[in-house]
Symmetry: C3
Subunit: 294 residues, 3 copies
Amino acid sequence: LCPPGVLPLCCRPPAWGRAPQQPPSPLLTPCRAFSNNMIQVELDESSGVAMMKFKSPPVNSLSLDFLTEFSISLEKLENDRACRGVIITSAVPKVFSAGLDITEMCGKSLEHYGEFWRAVQEFWLRLYGSNMVTVAAINGSSPAGGCLIALSCDYRIMAENPKFSIGLNETQLGIVAPFWFKDTFVNVVGQRIAERSLQLGSLHPAPEALQLGLVDELVPEEKILEKASAVMAKWLALPDHARQLTKSMMRKAVLDRLVAHREEDIKYFINFISKESIQKSLRMYMEMLKKKKG
Amino acid sequence: LCPPGVLPLCCRPPAWGRAPQQPPSPLLTPCRAFSNNMIQVELDESSGVAMMKFKSPPVNSLSLDFLTEFSISLEKLENDRACRGVIITSAVPKVFSAGLDITEMCGKSLEHYGEFWRAVQEFWLRLYGSNMVTVAAINGSSPAGGCLIALSCDYRIMAENPKFSIGLNETQLGIVAPFWFKDTFVNVVGQRIAERSLQLGSLHPAPEALQLGLVDELVPEEKILEKASAVMAKWLALPDHARQLTKSMMRKAVLDRLVAHREEDIKYFINFISKESIQKSLRMYMEMLKKKKG
Amino acid sequence: LCPPGVLPLCCRPPAWGRAPQQPPSPLLTPCRAFSNNMIQVELDESSGVAMMKFKSPPVNSLSLDFLTEFSISLEKLENDRACRGVIITSAVPKVFSAGLDITEMCGKSLEHYGEFWRAVQEFWLRLYGSNMVTVAAINGSSPAGGCLIALSCDYRIMAENPKFSIGLNETQLGIVAPFWFKDTFVNVVGQRIAERSLQLGSLHPAPEALQLGLVDELVPEEKILEKASAVMAKWLALPDHARQLTKSMMRKAVLDRLVAHREEDIKYFINFISKESIQKSLRMYMEMLKKKKG
């Protein structure tokens, strides 16, 4: 992982600095395929495209362990010269990711809250600031942190099932999306739609998400990976160098804002989440989920 | 009223700080219903929703007296624990509000211009920064300052009568919308639509206003209050605490900008409006209005 | 031309400062019509509208000479009290402007790159910051710098020929649109559309450009000047004074950003464009163009 306060983008020699004739160093062991506990990654060397599948049932919750594995997987791919793009999807039926794991935010120590929040920041800095082309193949519901993953990619394809919904629904749980979730959202849908959707904590069914610009297109669920590969090929047709500099120019202001306020943001989160009123809200929400499931 | 330069949001203990079991202090006399000269306010204690009706014929002009009453009414509701949302509408047929009262800007002393402008800033800071849910039920035309009132709410419903129009038409009068009118407009419709509409001083008929995103929906005039209540109920279903923090996060940058430049903005207004060329434009415009009426 | 770092807007006494009764100074020779090598300009004194036609076959490339003539023409019109608006179009069939002349960026000295880039900045500062109403009549394809000219106007009308396309396609050439091209683009189409379009270097056919908001309307090619005149008349119906202040308010942040970083931007361009890898890309692109033509 990067040192705190350092943008992940900087951890890697820029792609455009590499002369194509220079062979990969024999001292590095480039990853080609790896699977850990919760995320399966396969890199197709011929296309330069990695497929990253969330496989942490029941709902791909973003626990501390999941987030750590996510950041490490992104870092491995980012440092792998054979990898130019990544498709992110779910191996769990009906859900892309249910977002931040509430059990990590409930009844734990202040230190734990801090460690957890740093991991949330870390994955977002890596994904939103990635030099790779990132395509989200949203094959299930995608609330809160799940939505943030999708928003942080370069392109969003969603299964056209109106039962699947996506949105930053934090207010429904009595909590507040942090400023950088908000900034990422505004960069996709604009200020007005973000203002309304965030206040209401809306979860938008796929067709509405398309209409709002929250996703770029809908396809039948069985075609989603095929479509994602086609989109990826289109984006990879551009020279990496120019595309990466352009992406960085578009996202720099929002990335820099978190980097500049990272420790402050962690302190704010610890203070907010450890309030008794917030803890009570979260416990009630978890009770409700258990009853729903049971 | 708040001290100058202090954000209205700060004048009130944040709603999320109140434990629900804590009874309202007996020393406070919470307002339940009040009517002054120009604005009628009724609070439904069961729903927590206040209905605020402009009743200053012929066109609900925003005079110094009207603005003062508006700010005081907003402050009362903001401080009333029983009030969580306010619906703003007009009791005058065919007009929501005609905007700033031109007679306050014509042939008066520099001191008067300054006092008037401070009152314009004050109402906007209170309304745009309100902790309450604010819904505009725009049941008539709404040029200039009338449009600003609508833009400052959380949600805009307009009567679907194409004879009713809405917009910031200042340039038509030879004057210029101040930067915070512009910022509020951009936050609703985006930079490009704002640039074109502000330069042309466009008044958009209701259907066009919907298409531009200047209002959120159109309903038959007789259903507008019913619809406003339904929308309000939806917004009030969210926990106040999380919704208010989210609203503040979305609007803070634009509110802070006026707070930081408030005195400068007043000086600029006084200097601009007292120019002989501007005074002449305004006199001509008033003559035109008189002839039209006569 | 203005001194470096000085906004063109400041070079001219503001229009609203001119009393209409004040006659033009006899010491100034007001331009009424002039034609140079590459741009033909005709001013209709009765309407106050200038027609500016690019006539530099084969594709109206923005060479150093062209840009210099463009800036001088804009300056003349800006200083001409009889001129209130300018329509910009092409006298060359099928192309509005092909954008920056690649031969100016390939195999030349560092000094030349610097001089060229300063001329690019200069024309944009003049056009984007112009006090005049500017209408683009886009009667042909308009990639890269050609698109920037269109984006910098107040209103864009495009011929409804789907063979004509428009966009900032720099990444396709392996180069990157500078931040102020990007800012201008974002001000027209918003952050998300800009992010996608810039990364892909998309050239949007006319109908798609309309849908994205990149142009304001499409008309049959033979009606484009007629339509431009009608639009111009609508914009000129507003008082210059108020319209100009409003325009300046909308565009100031983006103009100021380049003015503040002008020398830095030139150094960055020189350093970037003189890289051997970039020079190679540009040479390959020129070879491709030659083969296509041959």
